[in-house]
């Protein structure tokens, strides 16, 4: 069976008839540190860019049409907005960082969600951003400067190996390295197989273990991937429940409850508190979001 058919068959088994040709719309996120939604809509409107609000986000807009690249406008270079797919903006909303928090972004580069966290905190509190790739961290540094972020410390390190002394975090974002999905990556089916999925799932569990160890009592960790594969999502959430006292808090919003029946394996009903974005339902890329609370 061709790899594309194999994956589509798996999605069918999970109850979703995907074609493999679903695409997402271009979206941007307004940087509230530098502009209001209204101000940016007006400024971009003057140069012929029409924006429509993403209904489940506070600062997210779909781009309905632009004659130029939105990654090279005055407004972009001034940090008034960032390019960020709509579903990718949801995990930080779920994390709900507040000014005064100490937040860890575990796999931070290239920094779309780091800047979103810092902006949501109004540049207050502190964000520790870690990534193992120096090359990708250059992009993160660029984004921090462009967006006017002043509350972040950035480390180039394997977060599993890093010594955080005795610091524990109020909130942690684990936007885990994952297999990705075909919606934003046209060559995805040719490059991916189930071995990648299993190996990513293993790495994700080790990151989850590290994250839980760094979370304060009563703290919140948001685990998210842009993978559609249950091994990287629901099965990892189940692994966490099986091996710890962690609780999964219910996430309200777009998409559907996560799966509790995966390839004939019945999972804990609490898994349904997590959220899944299926491309044919939400018009976005695939996404999985779990809100884990350390009791």
């Amino acid at each position: 069976m061709a790899k594309k058919d194999l994956f589509l068959e798996r999605y069918r088994e999970l109850g979703h008839n995907l074609t493999g040709a679903e695409r997402t719309r271009q979206a941007i996120r307004v940087n509230p540190l530098k502009a209001s939604n209204e101000e940016l809509v007006r400024k971009l409107g003057r140069v012929g860019v029409k924006l429509t609000r993403v209904d489940f986000l506070d600062h997210g807009f779909y781009v309905e049409g632009s004659r130029f690249s939105l990654g090279a406008s005055f407004e972009y270079l001034l940090g008034l907005y960032s390019l960020q797919e709509a579903a990718a903006q949801f995990p930080v909303k779920v994390l709900g960082p507040r000014s005064g928090d100490i937040v860890l972004d575990m796999c931070a580069a290239p920094g779309g969600k780091t800047t979103q966290i810092a902006a949501a905190m109004g540049n207050g509190g502190a964000v520790v951003a870690v990534d193992v790739s120096r090359r990708r961290l250059y992009a993160l540094e660029n984004n921090l400067e462009r967006c006017g972020i002043v509350n972040c410390a950035v480390y180039c390190a394997d977060v599993n190996e890093m010594d955080f002394k005795d610091v524990r975090f109020d909130r942690i974002l684990l936007d885990a390295p994952c297999s990705g999905n075909y919606v934003t990556d046209r060559g995805w089916f040719n490059r991916r197989d189930l071995r990648d999925v299993r190996s990513n799932a293993e790495r994700q569990r080790s990151l989850l273990r590290t994250g839980m160890g760094l979370l304060k009592e009563g703290g919140t960790l948001v685990y998210t991937t842009c993978s559609l594969e249950p091994e990287e999502n629901e099965l990892n959430a189940q692994w966490l429940l099986d091996g710890s006292d962690a609780k999964l808090e219910k996430i309200e919003g777009p998409g559907s409850p996560a799966l509790t029946d995966v390839f004939s394996r019945e999972l804990d009903s609490e898994i349904a508190n997590c959220r899944r974005f299926w491309p044919e339902e939400t018009g976005t890329q695939g996404f999985f979001v779990a809100k884990v609370v350390n009791p």
Binding site: F74, L77, V128, E141, V154, Y155
Partner: protein, 152 residues
């Protein structure tokens, strides 16, 4: 911090950094507040922290964050431009004196000026002679964010 002071004087700006808050990461200079200072676990892996002031090379090169902050000051060398000139500046071009819409400060050789468009700072330049007249030579502009990405 000597290089920073020289730059500030060249644009008639004021800004003070106390030694305790100043952090050096290779050639980059940052201001780090108290809360973030407690999260500097080691300097070996640290690549960025707090408010990025700029880079210390032969001269101090201010960041866009610092330029933005200076822009709040009343007394400052600034030039204001129209959209077309502003865009050319962001593409790395210099600015001829006749393209300046409004000037704050004395446009004479050696002086530095922040380049403004609609209240936003796009970078800065230095006044230099060019073919018998004065131009603002582009030193830094925000188009650098794109150029840096392409270089990687």
């Amino acid at each position: 911090m000597k290089g920073l002071e020289e730059f500030l004087a060249s644009v008639r700006a004021r800004y003070s950094v106390d030694d305790e808050s100043l952090l050096k990461v290779n050639i980059k200079r940052f201001v780090v507040g108290e809360k973030l200072r407690g999260l500097i676990f080691n300097k070996l892996n640290l690549v960025y922290a707090g408010k990025y002031l700029g880079k210390m090379k032969k001269k101090f090169l201010p960041s866009s964050i610092l330029l933005d902050e200076l822009n709040d000051q009343e007394v400052l060398n600034r030039i204001h431009t129209d959209r077309e000139t502003a865009w050319l500046f962001v593409c790395g071009r210099d600015i001829f004196e006749d393209k300046i819409q409004r000037l704050e400060g004395e446009f004479k050789e050696g002086n530095d000026f922040l380049v403004m468009h609609e209240g936003h700072c796009l970078g800065y330049g230095r006044v230099e002679p060019f073919e018998g007249r004065m131009i603002l030579r582009n030193v830094f502009d925000i188009g650098d964010f794109l150029r840096r990405e392409k270089q990687r």
